[in-house]
């Protein structure tokens, strides 16, 4: 597919430039000016056709089932988009005074309250722009908490099943990570954990349910163990969808957490963001939240900056406001019953899909799963690998599952159907997966050279990395 720069024709323009008669401005010294720009000269129809063609080379939730594990690719309700396009929200400048922005502040305050009701936390900051940003802010809160207590603790514990962002966030705050092994049943190895939790451990980060799609049965015991040693317990809320309305994260003993609004609360992922990763904390950690926090006073809502123990500012303004707005709409529409229904149906759908696939695919950890489950390519015939299966499923009109993650399962195939897929869709997907298994037996080459029907064939990632071409040049 040619890029827009190749569709440039001399003198074309698509921008409605106003023709105002204006005096010359105060001159800028010539050495501070450029000598012209060279971008694109394309007409509006050229541009519309170009990006329409590009969109048709993309796969989204609206295109088909998107069982990408740990990403919760549920349906993104259209009402969210309509509300997020209201000019009263889109056109509001972030430095408009408090009197001009009461509606926006009410949304931020309101969403924090809704998230607290769902998780049992004391307050949420909506400043983090993505899950990893929320984690980073969370680890900063942990750092500040011990700094204020005058304690030096240098280690944060992370299970071997964790998302890569966890250790990376920890490293960005000067902590050392120590990996905690899992048992063959997919829980944290308590014996090992007991032997490593000491006065140097600041916290442990646990994804709940974990990335094997399992609820760690030791969660409350881990909380007690950490708290006895004065350490904190962080919940990576990437998989919160499974717990909605069933259990509150705070009740399990977690002290702080982040939520991915673009996963659990139906805001679209945008092909790589914008997301939103609110950070929620318990009472004791509330003073350390990033500034500003939104408070409600006698005369309306305001942004509060006077918080001496805060970790400080983490965003140019207040986070991805228009994303938070969509999540606010979603929770407002679902209410308590709808939220619980979403969580329960997510778990029901995952277990049903697992029941359809377990005869044909290897299940490394065999337990009732939560919202997702992990298969792998062990015993696949014809030398077919996880990557081949992921590419072949694209030909059947589905997005691929998450592959080769979590790292502790070799050849992992991580499937998360979400609650918004129907029984018929789950069955059709299972049939496609089983058909691939049959192909692996009878005609493995078909699988190994897949995909065959996508806009481009299998993409050479090795070449992309060996000879990096990161911008277009004529």
């Amino acid at each position: 597919m040619p890029v827009i720069f190749e569709k440039s024709g001399c003198g074309r323009s698509a921008y409605p430039m106003p023709e105002w008669k204006l005096d010359d401005a105060d001159p800028i010294p010539p050495e501070l000016l450029n000598d012209g720009v060279d971008l694109v000269e394309a007409g509006e129809l050229d541009i519309v056709r170009h990006y329409t063609a590009l969109s048709r080379m993309n796969f989204g939730v609206d295109t088909g089932m998107y069982p990408l594990g740990s990403c919760t690719m549920k349906y993104n309700p259209k009402i969210n988009e309509r509300v997020a396009a209201l000019p009263g929200f889109t056109g509001l400048h972030p430095l408009a005074s408090r009197g001009l922005s009461q509606g926006a502040l009410e949304v931020l305050h309101g969403l924090s309250g809704l998230l607290c009701a769902i998780t049992g936390m004391r307050r949420f900051s909506l400043a983090p722009a993505a899950g990893a940003h929320g984690e980073l802010a969370g680890v900063m809160v942990i750092k500040k908490y011990f700094e204020k207590r005058g304690e030096r603790r240098g280690v944060i514990l992370i299970p071997d099943s964790a998302h890569g962002t966890n250790p990376a966030s920890v490293a960005m705050c000067g902590f050392e990570t120590r990996e905690v092994p899992s048992t063959s049943e997919g829980d944290v190895d308590m014996e090992k954990l007991r032997s490593i939790v000491d006065q140097n451990v600041a916290a442990m980060m646990l994804t709940s349910p974990n990335t094997l799609g399992l609820f760690d049965r030791n969660t409350p015991a881990i909380a007690n163990l950490l708290h006895d040693k004065g350490a904190l317990f962080y919940c990576d809320g990437a998989n919160l969808n499974a717990l909605l309305g069933v259990v509150r994260v705070r009740d399990l003993g977690f002290d702080l957490m982040h939520i991915n609004l673009h996963k659990t609360f139906s805001t679209p992922h945008g092909g790589g963001g914008p997301g939103s990763g609110p950070l929620g904390v318990c009472d004791e950690l509330e003073p350390y939240l990033p500034v500003p926090v939104v408070l409600k006073g006698k005369d309306g809502f305001h942004l509060e900056y006077d918080r001496p123990d805060s970790i400080g500012r983490i965003h140019s303004f207040y986070g991805n406001f228009l994303v938070a707005l969509r999540a606010f709409v979603y929770i407002s529409m679902l209410g308590s019953e709808g939220i619980r229904d979403a969580g329960e149906t997510a778990v029901l759908n995952a277990n049903y899909l697992l029941s359809l696939l377990r005869k044909d695919y290897n299940l490394p950890v065999d337990r009732a799963c939560m919202h997702e489950f992990v298969l792998n390519d062990k015993n696949m015939p014809g030398g077919v690998t996880t990557n081949d299966i992921a590419k072949r499923i694209l030909d059947f009109g589905y997005h691929a599952p998450t592959v080769y993650f979590p790292l502790l399962i070799p050849g992992a195939i991580m499937i998360e159907p979400t609650e918004t897929e129907t029984r018929e869709m789950l069955e059709a997907f299972a049939e496609a997966m089983i058909a691939i298994k049959r192909e692996a037996e009878t005609s493995p080459e078909t699988v190994k050279t897949a995909p065959h029907t996508t806009p481009v064939g299998r993409v050479d990632a090795v070449l992309a990395a060996r000879k990096p071409v990161l911008k277009w040049e004529p």
Partner: protein, 440 residues
């Protein structure tokens, strides 16, 4: 409202296939004492009609007004094609393009975005986006520190104060010391040698927080003479339609905010962080990079690349923890820049002339500019009793700029004013008159 469609009969069949009697049994792994007995304490569910009414009411409590505020977030005209194309759901309901074969749309657009940013900044390599301008700066500093091994940076005091605060947060967490390099009369002066001594980088914003254009070449030379990187922050990238690309003026890293390319202000977010650098930084860049390659038939194709820098592979040794960025905003920027094209120069000149016109109108009413320096589309003006005047202007339907006194004691009566094509010549005169009326 629910977006699930599990009929009772379906549920029964699904439970039978799983081999359990109830949905409750699926949650058996969660100790019973911890499970919620009743419902969540949430407001009554609303229908779509009710939620729309409620949200329109909330939107109505905001008053976006005729906006003369900039300072890192800019109201520009959004050509209709941008919304029409970016709201195609194949784009916005996709995830990060891990499966390149079904993500060529996103990947190609991001590759175009990287190209646009490189061309405008004069840099070799730009990433797929960062969260916003302030975190793009913080990550640029961490990249500089990672490369140089020096744990000190010098920051111009003309940097956006929010960026400074965010940088302080990240530097505190990473044990990096920040020194302030002082300027005068609204711009940075060549910093004293001791400010740069042992510094990993000098951070310059241009146009700076006060709207003044800095001498990036001279400042970069000073940084280089002290063995420091020159990091240039741009918060209003339309300025690059007119001003010299920082890459041609000695910048090693250019970062900042690209919201004003095709994205609404949206109360500050989603924003669009940009980060570009010289080729030497390529393997140290944070975030996603899209590269060109071929498919199995040798056809041109795009893919995420150089992923061994990233957290999902390198974990605690990654160049950053960033994962999800601002992809759709980058797509909007690519569409916007395609529409604007080389017209960016004309639009930049128009913005500059409008700012000049506004400055002149205010000046003719006796409100003097605070700094006599070259500017782009923002400038500071002295308005006696600014806070009270601004309040009155708000009542007249204006968002009357940014009160500098909120950030600096010495600028108590100063207001930062921004003009774009959204504040036309007629608006200027009305605005200047209103200021004069209320300042009496």
């Amino acid at each position: 409202m629910k977006y699930t469609c599990g009929a009772d009969a379906d549920r029964a069949a699904m439970l039978a296939s799983i081999g359990v009697r109830s949905v409750d049994e699926l949650f058996a792994g969660i100790p019973k004492d911890f499970r919620l007995k009743g419902g969540l304490d949430l407001p009554e569910a609303l229908s779509e009609i009710e939620v729309m009414r409620r949200m329109e009411e909330l939107a109505g409590k905001n008053r976006p007004g005729r906006c003369f505020a900039g300072a890192g977030s800019y109201v520009h005209y959004l050509p209709a094609a941008v919304d029409a194309l970016a709201s195609r759901s194949e784009f916005y309901t996709a995830y990060t393009p891990y499966q390149a074969e079904v993500s060529q749309g996103t990947l190609t657009a991001i590759f175009e975005f990287q190209t646009f940013i490189c061309r405008l900044t004069g840099m070799d390599v730009a990433n797929a986006s960062m969260y916003d301008g302030a975190t793009a700066l913080a990550e640029s500093v961490l990249m500089s520190v990672g490369v140089s091994g020096k744990k000190t940076v010098a920051v111009a005091d003309t940097l956006h104060p929010h960026y400074r605060r965010v940088l302080e947060t990240y530097c505190w967490a990473n044990d990096v010391e920040i020194r302030t390099a002082h300027g005068e009369a609204g711009v940075m002066m060549t910093p004293a040698a001791d400010a740069l001594d042992g510094a990993s980088a000098l951070i310059i914003q241009s146009p700076n927080f006060f709207g003044c254009v800095e001498d990036v070449s001279a400042l970069s030379s000073a940084a280089h003479a002290a063995g420091a990187h020159s990091i240039v922050v741009v918060t209003e990238p339309h300025s690059l339609g007119l001003l010299a690309p920082p890459g041609k003026s000695g910048a090693d890293i250019v970062c900042g905010e690209a919201q004003s390319f095709g994205n609404p202000v949206g109360f500050g977010g989603p924003a669009l962080g940009m980060l570009a650098a010289g080729a030497g930084f390529m393997r140290r860049m944070p975030g996603r990079l899209v590269g060109r390659t071929v498919d199995s038939a040798g056809k041109e194709a795009y893919a995420l690349t150089l992923q061994t820098r990233e957290q999902h592979i390198r974990r605690e040794r990654a160049t950053s923890n960033i994962c999800t960025n601002q992809g759709l905003c980058a797509l909007r920027a690519a569409i916007y820049l395609s529409v604007l094209g080389n017209g960016i120069r004309k639009l930049a000149i128009l913005n500059h002339k409008l700012a000049a016109r506004c400055k002149k109108s205010l000046s003719s009413k006796g409100f003097r500019p605070v700094f006599e320096r070259p500017y782009f589309n923002e400038f500071a003006v002295k308005i006696p009793g600014a806070p009270a005047v601004m309040k009155r202007l708000e009542e007249e339907g204006y968002v009357p700029g940014v009160h500098l006194g909120d950030y600096y004691e010495e600028y108590e009566d100063c207001v930062l004013i921004c003009c774009t094509e959204m504040t036309g010549p007629d608006d200027m005169d009305g605005f200047a008159e209103a200021v004069a009326r209320f300042a009496k």
